[in-house]
Structure formats: structure tokens, C-alpha cells
Subunit: 143 residues, 2 copies
Amino acid sequence: MSVPDSPAIGVPSDPSGPVASGSARPSRLDAAIAARLRRTADGLVAAVVRAHDSGEVLMVAWMDDEALHRTLTTGRATYWSRSRREYWVKGATSGHHQYVRSVALDCDGDALLISVDQVGAACHTGHRTCFYTELPVTAPEAL
Amino acid sequence: MSVPDSPAIGVPSDPSGPVASGSARPSRLDAAIAARLRRTADGLVAAVVRAHDSGEVLMVAWMDDEALHRTLTTGRATYWSRSRREYWVKGATSGHHQYVRSVALDCDGDALLISVDQVGAACHTGHRTCFYTELPVTAPEAL
């Protein structure tokens, strides 16, 4: 698999508006796809990751346009780290790779569903999925 | 189930980091749960909704503290509409109710996984799931 020689270096220009805005960083994403995205104020869409085999929901991460471009064209799930403000390829340091099987956009363009073959644990804590903390549903008529 | 008479006004003391911020609106959410949330700049966490029976991912919506409180205590999935800036109970107008079976928080507190019994279509377009638009994965060595 080829990796671009010169990644687009990202200095956010100006993510404006409460919901929709343009890409915060330079991106090679196909313009027709970019036009469908409805980003947060900081230029991101939510990426829901599920295991291709079991359907289990593994994690949620964030993508900007360029992260989505890299995910689609390399087949390796690539996200934008909000805390470190940099791209990260899942598994690059942990070895817990995510090989992309399919990507779907939702009806209003603010979320992606990424089906992956997950190597090892998806969660940095070692759990298979990040959603291991149950919250109490206390509805009196809960099913 | 008792509902507090005087809602605890939620300005969490210290949601740390560049992303987290306090609850944007007054909330009755349990303080211990609120303290674990890591919100977007507009005070929201992503809620991934899946069908309890099939495990299918149906949609992504957004919750602030109060929406999560209502979801946990009524058993009816309740979200914050970013466009209308109001709470909405899924199915209130469409009849496509979501009865909550379980709620899980992810490891870093910025996403929820809501398992529901979905009545009818989850998507406002009439599709069963909102993720009906496939994007092309063009990686040369895609699996």
C-alpha cells in the first residue's frame, strides 16, 4: 500500500459557525464527499467503529476531512486527536491495527460508521471495546 | 423513582483538557456521572444508538447532561437537537420510539452507546438506519 510522500500539514484556518463549517485543515478529500460533511465547530465528524465480524461497537473517534481521506485511500483507520491535535493511525504504536472493510456516512453528514477488522483490543485500556462502563437505567418501566 | 426537586445546576468544577467544558444547560444528571463526561465545546457527547436485538448501528445523535439524565430516568431516548436547540424525545412526532435497554459510557467520557428497542425506522428518511450511504474505500490493498 502506498503512503503519500508529503502529507498535508495542518494549521487550522478558522472553524466557524456552531455546527457546519468547512474543513479545519488542508485536505485531499474528494470534493463531492467533503460537500456532504456537516462538521462540528472544530471541523470534525464522529467516527463510530464497529467490528466487521461481530458487529460489536468498539469505539468512537473523530475525523476531519483529511483523516477521512487517509482512511478511505489507505484502508487503515486514521483519526484526528483532539487532545494532541495531530493525526493518528490506529495501531501505529499499540499494534492494535484497524483494517477498514467499509465506511458509511449518515443521513445528515455528521457521523461515519467504520467497519474494521480489529487486531487485538480496540481500547487503550486493554478492553476489547471502549464501552465497558454501564450507566444505570432507572426508568420505572424499563423493559 | 424520585426526581430531585431542585435540579443540581451543572457547572462541573473541572473538566480538564482542551475539549471538555461544562454542561451548557441546567441538568439533574447524577453528579458522579456528570463528572465523567468530556464534552464538546458546545457541551455535548456523541450518542451511538444500536438495535438491542440485531446489534445494528442505527444512528448517532447528541446529548447534553440533561438529555442523558432524561434518557436514563425515563427509558426513552432523549437527545439535544443542535439545529433546533431543544430537547427531542425520539419518536415523539414520528412514532418511531426508542425504548432504552442499556447505556454505556466510553473510556474517555465523550461517547455513549445506547441500546434500544427501535420501533419502525430509526432514520427520518425512512431508512432503518441512518448509515445507508456507502463511501468508496479505494485502498489498493483493501481487504
